[in-house]
Amino acid sequence: MITRTETISVADALKEEEDLVKRAQHSREAFAELYEIYYQRIFNYILKRVANVQLALDITSITFLKALDQIKKFRWRDIPFSAWLYRIASNEINDYYRREGNRLISMEMLAEMSDTTDYAEEINEAEEELNRHEEFLRLHEKLAELPQMYQEVIVLKYFEKKKIGDIVKILGKKEGTVKSLLHRGLEKLREKMA
């Protein structure tokens, strides 16, 4: 049960974030504050979709760079900022797979991001940690056999614990469509799991 104090606190937090987004539309420093809030969430969402640390890092980079590029067009009344970030990330993942694994970003950038000894070790450790999540990897292996439209609703619903209403906002689809995709996605996954 949400108390009155908690309700006010959530409203304040939303207002605070709305103000931050408005500032971020004109200030890179303000955008960096938003980045700090959402980086972890977006990176782990992408990681759950692609199950590859380096690829998840690259798509995360693209997601935030595009968000920075397009933030002036963002309107709070349409969708919450977090949903907007998830939407960009989803589009980038789908775009990557649509191009069947073509280079996502320039080789120059990959070199820039990868050759850095300062976090190359970190990436190795993250990959080792990912490999320890065997159950997730087995599930992902089966999920990856499904079309992207099913993968994204299943990951958002069961891995990201998003409500149907939130998924509707993230994907920009109707509620009935989302439910239908979820239902059919689960059926297909069930077949793959058999």
């Binding site: 980086y39 920075l68 280079r103 970003i105 970190e122 990912l130 999540h133 077949e191």
Partner: protein, 275 residues
């Protein structure tokens, strides 16, 4: 993983998905690097073959990065800058410096001796400028046939010598225009009595009254074009001259300048009896 052939029911699958232990990882190095890039102004653009390219701020400042390289780079940049500046200065100097012809024209127009030698008043018309090495030969006058040729030292900006011309630069009228001017004059009732008294007709010449009609051809030669198609017909009787101004466009006499003593201008004394 459920065994093959034994299809998992939906509830079990949902439960499996919901309860799966999920990776929650963090790569702090990447997080910091990306944050830095965002603050410093990195942008993303579509490159060739639809590859997305991240342009870092360092790309935009590559000129400075290039300059910070080996010592020959700033040296080359300085040399190029100096060359560009020198070219700009030379261009400005060239544009700001008047041509020798313009200098000679200016000297002649301002020279007091020429002002004094030319009869009449008003602006001096430069008819012709011929530049020869450091000296320009300028022909100028005040219209109506009084012209001077002056040699001008372009470097010293002084007039070296002057010579007077006598009617040399009167543009001649076409024979048909000359004939028309004569006919219009001789048929005029004010002129007929003079002719009957034995007056003679002088050389018909065009009128120069509008210096704005000066045009320049072949670089130096300046030609004066009559402001309108007018001609002057001098009528001489004893020691007087009547100047008849004929409007050739409208085929009429605009005015007859009242008789005066023979003109001080020598060319007006060249008479040719057409009668």
């Amino acid at each position: 993983m459920e065994p093959i052939g034994n299809m998992m029911n939906k509830e079990d699958l949902v439960k499996k998905l919901e309860q799966a232990k999920l990776p929650e990882l963090e790569v702090v190095g990447h997080r910091c690097r990306l944050r830095q890039m965002l603050i410093e102004g990195a942008v993303i653009v579509r490159g060739r073959d639809n590859v997305q390219v991240i342009k870092r701020p360092s790309d935009r400042l590559s000129w400075w990065a290039w300059l910070k390289g080996p010592a020959w780079r700033p040296a080359v940049a300085s040399a190029v800058s100096l060359f560009i500046m020198a070219a700009i200065i030379a261009g400005v100097f060239y544009l700001a410096t008047p041509s020798p012809a313009a200098i000679a024209t200016d000297v002649v127009r301002k020279d007091p001796s020429i002002q004094q030698k030319l009869s009449g008043s008003g602006e001096i018309i430069v008819v012709r400028v011929e530049v020869m090495s450091n000296v320009a030969r300028v022909v100028c006058g005040r219209g109506m046939g009084d012209f001077i040729e002056a040699d001008v030292d372009i470097t010293g900006r002084t007039v070296l010598t002057t010579r007077r011309f006598e009617g040399l630069f009167l543009a001649e009228l076409a024979p048909e225009a000359r004939s028309n001017a004569l006919n219009i004059t001789l048929l005029d009732d004010r002129i007929k009595p003079l002719i009957s008294k034995g007056a003679t007709v002088g050389n018909v010449f065009p009128v120069f009254s509008d210096i704005s009609r000066i045009t320049i051809s072949d670089g130096h030669l300046i030609k004066i074009t009559p402001s309108s198609y007018h001609a002057i017909v001098p009528i001489y009787l004893s020691d007087k001259v009547w100047l008849v101004e004929v409007n050739l466009d409208e085929k009429k006499i605009d005015r007859i300048i009242e008789p005066q003593l023979l003109s001080p201008y020598p060319y007006m004394n060249y008479t040719a009896n057409y009668l």
